[in-house]
């Protein structure tokens, strides 16, 4: 079979073993043939890996600082709830861009790449990883040019907001990229990191879930279905648990 991307490894299977084992239809040697009983393996499952704190995996140079600055304007800190940076939204984006999402893994990335109508969806060869590199660089470059040599993260909060509003309206243009589309993506990603399970690096200590009253990764509300218009009292729990699991 054709093999242009190397994604179908051609390996010689033992014909005799294969045919014999298929003909008998008995004993499963791999996960490929299901016969006689439901498959089972102990310790099964594929949970997401726990977050590894530490240096950036994806961001280079001042990209991380820029992402944090953006996160804190998109979700500013307030006395009740941390902002985007403290909640870990930049960490979230960093880990996502370093992973399969950043690489567009699983998406159809075959050529030809042609521009189409907006409702035909994303048609770029460049995935989120490249878009962020370009976008963050363009943002800082534009700020340096138009705002006295200062990068985005060096501006005051009010100035940062002005820049971002300007990108929204089209008044503040970024060179070489569609600034509005990039910023829309950043808003989406920051907010996503805010509300996703803390295992992905954002929503640290479930601060976002506590803010809105979402009980998290729970699975049983049977005793609450018929309790209408009452505040749900249990604290949120994430996939890695909650403090009551250890402290009692």
């Amino acid at each position: 079979m054709s093999n242009d991307k190397g994604d179908l490894a051609i390996c010689r299977r033992q014909l005799l073993a294969g045919a014999a084992f298929l003909a008998l239809g008995m004993s499963r040697s791999g996960a490929t043939v299901i016969f006689d009983h439901l498959p089972w393996t102990p310790n099964a499952g594929n949970p997401p890996p726990r977050p590894v704190p530490g240096p950036w995996h994806f961001f280079r140079g001042d990209e991380g600082r820029t992402a944090e600055a953006l996160a804190d304007r998109i979700i500013p800190p307030d006395p009740q709830t941390p902002g985007g940076t403290d909640a870990g939204c930049a960490d979230f984006i960093d880990r996502q861009l370093a992973g399969p999402y950043g690489r567009q893994e699983g998406l159809y990335t075959r050529p030809p790449f042609q521009n189409g109508a907006k409702n035909q969806g994303h048609q770029s060869e460049q995935g989120p990883a490249q878009q962020y590199r370009k976008g963050l660089a363009a943002l800082n470059a534009a700020c340096k040019v138009k705002l006295g040599g200062r990068a985005f993260y060096e501006l005051s909060d009010a100035d940062k907001d002005n820049v971002l509003h300007g990108i929204d309206t089209g008044d503040f243009k970024l060179d070489g990229i569609d600034g509005k589309a990039f910023f829309e993506q950043v808003v989406k990603d920051v907010q996503m990191g805010f509300f996703a399970d803390p295992i992905y690096g954002g929503n640290r200590d479930m601060v976002a879930w506590k803010m809105i009253g979402f009980p998290g990764a729970r699975y049983n509300y049977l005793d609450w279905v018929s309790r209408h218009n009452e505040r749900y009292p249990l604290p949120p729990v994430s996939m890695t648990g909650r403090i009551e699991w250890t402290r009692g």
Partner: protein, 413 residues
């Protein structure tokens, strides 16, 4: 003129015919073979003597784990060279009922001859007759795989002297026919004590703790006396019969080693036999110790309650009662309360698939919690479940969990 045979002579001939009928029926006789087939089911020969997943039953090669090392079960198909095709009846009986191999050396009690001895010679030869009808399989098995010094079979002579009493089952005259049938099945071909009776350090039965539960192969086999906390005390006869017949009842589900027993043996037993087993087991008095319930506000109980609420209650219920024949009722389970919590810990760590039978095909699975929960969390939630509602049991420690985690890391299920 027709010869007239004197009547007396005819009667005499008949008598001779009856008397000189051999004690053992013709091995090709259908009733004999069918009786042997059923006895082989009762004895669960197929389980040890077949590699799991193989379609060549009784051909041996399965590695049996013992505390002294692994033993490989031999080929008992009638193959002339690699099976028992050329064995005599006496040799077969000696092996099954007395623990003596064809060459005169001793068998290890991984072969439960100390239970099978309770069957009669007739029984055992019926099994032989059934085995003789199977397709011979050529499969040479190396049986002597125990490490030194356990590979010295002569030492078994001493072991046998301590732990083996040869002899058929003797019915107790004060008990019912049903009870005696159950006692025969449990102590004889069923060999339940092989797993469920705790062992001495030499691997013999602790006879004063008959069926009170034991540890083996990374599992804790449960107490199956009528103890109300640890055993079958809160099970009805019907619960026991349903469990053995289908692998599931209103309280619990069978998994791993017991799955195999049910799939290959008990689910094929007759209802009267299952009832007899239930009658017998329920007659065995429990130890009824005075363990106290842990208070609900003890720290592991509080932590365990939180974990239970968040993770376990979606299947096992907020009240611990589960869903009948789907999710075990932890609040009523003797497995949960077992003194040795190995099985409960193992199930939580690795997950488990319950057995599917014709009567109960769903075979629901328990997911694995070994990655999400650490040792202390698993210890807490088990402690909670063991002492919640009407359950009473000792706390589980993080060390116990760590030990099972380490021990089962490389085991298959």
């Amino acid at each position: 003129m027709r010869k007239r045979v004197p009547l007396a002579l005819a009667w005499f001939g008949l008598l001779v015919a009856i008397v000189s009928r051999p004690a053992i029926a013709d091995p090709q006789d259908f009733p004999q073979i069918e009786r042997g087939r059923y006895l082989a089911v009762l004895s669960d020969c197929a389980s040890c003597h077949t590699v799991p997943g193989s379609n060549q039953q009784f051909s041996g090669g399965r590695s049996i784990e013992t505390p002294f090392g692994n033993i490989v079960a031999p080929n008992i198909t009638p193959d002339a060279e690699t099976g028992i095709g050329t064995w005599s009846d006496d040799q077969f009986e000696a092996a099954v009922r007395k623990g003596i191999r064809r060459d005169g050396s001793r068998l290890y009690p991984a072969m439960p001859y100390n239970a099978y001895t309770k069957m009669s010679r007739d029984d055992v030869l019926a099994i032989r007759a059934y085995l003789n009808t199977l397709t011979p399989v050529r499969n040479a098995v190396v049986a002597n795989t125990l490490p030194f010094p356990f590979n010295i079979r002569a030492a078994m002579r001493a072991w046998d002297a301590l732990y083996f009493t040869e002899g058929e089952y003797r019915p107790e005259p004060n008990q019912s026919t049903e009870w005696n049938r159950g006692a025969f099945l449990v102590t004889g071909p069923g060999h339940c004590g092989a797993c469920h009776t705790p062992k001495t350090f030499l691997g013999g039965d602790k006879t004063d703790q008959f069926l009170r539960g034991s540890y083996l192969q990374g599992w804790s086999a449960l107490d199956i006396t009528n103890d109300s906390r640890l055993g079958l005390g809160r099970w009805s006869k019907e619960d026991i019969v349903a469990y053995l017949r289908s692998g599931h009842n209103r309280i619990t589900a069978a998994t791993a080693p017991m799955s195999e027993v049910i799939a290959l043996s008990t689910s094929h037993m007759t209802d009267p036999d299952l009832n007899a087993i239930a009658t017998y087991l329920k007659s065995l008095p429990g130890k009824n110790d005075g363990t106290a319930q842990l208070a609900a506000n003890a720290p592991p109980m509080v932590a365990g309650a939180a974990i239970y609420r968040d993770q376990c209650s979606a299947c096992h219920g907020l009240d611990g009662k589960g869903v009948a024949e789907l999710f075990p009722a932890l609040a009523e389970s003797s497995l949960v309360r077992s003194d040795d919590p190995t099985t409960a810990i193992r199930i939580v760590l690795r997950g488990a698939r319950s057995v599917g039978t014709d009567a109960q095909p769903t075979a629901p699975g328990m997911p694995s919690y070994g990655r999400q929960l650490d040792d202390a969390e698993i210890a807490a939630v088990l402690t909670y479940v063991r002492n919640n509602s009407a359950n009473i049991a000792s706390a589980v420690t993080a060390d116990q969990v760590a030990k099972v985690r380490h021990d089962t890391a490389t085991r298959p299920d």
